[in-house]
């Protein structure tokens, strides 16, 4: 029996980056996936490449009706919803002094409110149908340490950690688990700046493990949390960052004690 046999997962932001890799690996390990994204071309292309165990859905996570429709599709096509991966996010970086109200709202609406709406829609189905489930939030190192100049990003990512914990304690009684992962610097389309070899090298150098992360590094952690192997893991936060979250003291110049 494969890890995700008879399991169905909805992945938001599933057309690219960590979401896409998670969708792909979920199917590789025996599951079926609904790829939700606003990027139709990339999403349809990915679903076609994965095959009949994947279906693309034009998902706007900021719209409750769209989230409900994604659940309906998962149930109609594959028979259930057992997992949700909330990785949809938009970036609107800028210094807080100048950050536009619209930029603030955009990031919170997609990243935080959208994760709530998608989780709520899937969770209602799980609860109403007596199904256990697992919800994973894509937070970030930036959810634990403020990411200067990132606009509402760090605040959104911090909110996702609490949202996972909050869902976890409210829905544990239904057998629904919820957890957050915190990637460090990871090479995805969202982080196109890592294509700059100087930046990539520099970011690798400041990471204790000496390299930036790849989408499969993060997907491996997400899939663990989705799987029955994590049956007793809920309200947890998993750093997948090469150790960088604990490396502030690496940046202290000078060691001349004694």
């Amino acid at each position: 029996m494969t890890q995700f046999e008879n399991k169905v997962c909805i992945v938001t932001g599933g057309a690219s980056g960590i979401g896409a890799k998670t969708a792909e690996m979920f199917v590789q390990r025996g599951g079926q996936v609904v790829i939700g994204d606003v990027n139709d071309e990339a999403g349809e292309g990915l679903a076609a490449a994965i095959g009949d165990k994947a279906v693309f859905f034009h998902l706007d996570v900021s719209d409750p009706a769209s989230c409900e429709a994604a659940v309906d599709l998962a149930v109609a096509r594959f028979g259930s919803v057992d997992g949700v991966v909330n990785s949809a996010i938009k970036m609107a970086p800028g210094p807080l002094k100048d950050l536009a109200h619209a930029d603030w709202n955009l990031v919170l609406e997609i990243g935080l409110t959208g994760s709530f709406l998608m989780s709520q829609a899937a969770g209602r189905w799980m609860i109403d149908n007596g199904r256990k489930g697992s919800i994973v939030m894509l937070s970030s190192n930036g959810g634990r340490n403020p990411y200067g100049m990132s606009g509402a990003y760090s605040t959104t990512k911090a909110g996702l950690i609490m949202l996972a914990q909050h869902l976890a304690i409210e829905w544990a009684q239904y057998g629904i688990r919820a957890n957050a992962v915190c990637p460090g610097h990871t090479e995805t389309p969202l982080t196109a700046y890592l294509q700059d070899p100087e930046i990539k090298q520099a970011r690798s150098d400041v990471t204790p493990l000496g390299r930036v992360g790849q989408p499969e590094d993060i997907a491996n952690g997400i899939l663990f949390l989705l799987s029955d192997e994590a049956d007793y893991v809920t309200a947890a936060t998993l750093d997948i960052d090469g150790g960088i979250a604990k490396s502030v003291m690496n940046h202290m110049p000078g060691r001349k004690w004694s």
Binding site: P93, P146, M149, L194, M249, W257, S258
Partner: protein, 269 residues
Amino acid sequence: MMLEGKKIIITGGASGIGRASAVLAANEGADIAVADIDRVAADATAELVRAKGREALVVEMDTSKVADAQRMADEAVAAFGTIDGIVCCAIKQKPAKLEELSEEEWDMVIDIGLKGYFLCAQAAGRVMLERGSGSIVFVSSVGGVQAYNGAGAYSIAKAGNVMLGNLFGVEWGGRGVRANTVLPGQVPTPLTQAMFDDPEIAAGRAAVVPMGRVGQPEEIAEACVFLLSDRASYVNAAMLKVDGGQAESKMMHTPGRKWGGKSMDYEAS
């Protein structure tokens, strides 16, 4: 005055943050027992306390020895009649790479920097429990929440300080004895002076702190005095960073900020 008439013990009170806390507490009306292994420097702190018009007692001791910790409490009670609070900051450094760190070096830092906190807080705390009031303050470090590479057992001891403070706070809070932890960032003291004497290091360390400067012992002492005082009457099992924002600054040290094609520069904000 925030500490009018209170009787406070300060371990590691001979220098640095301990001395600054002794002087500030005296300035706020407290009588001070300066507990330290360095008699000469402790006497100098005591003179600074007396210069504030307060009583001072020097307890020459090794904080890692239970008999010394008991004597510390006994002498404070004998001199002042009671104990209202204790600040623990005695520590010794033994930096080394983990692959080279010896058992003796590990033990020394843990004995003084962690076990010593327990022994001294326990001895002074028993007196405070009898009265049903008191405040324990542990000086930890940002190195207690961020691994301080090359520092040997230091980060472990400092992380332990936080949990020990929480534990005292949880066990004793209901009996009127509060316990809290202060986490200083980069602070020039005799312990760190050799490092800060190098102008390049001093400038470099200032630059990596969001506030753009290192802290002063007096700024850490302010936090200790607050936590000792009745103004912190509902603060228990808490940790207070006094570090100019350094512990949360990890993302500041991430090179390359070209999101959305915009160059992101802290100086521009």
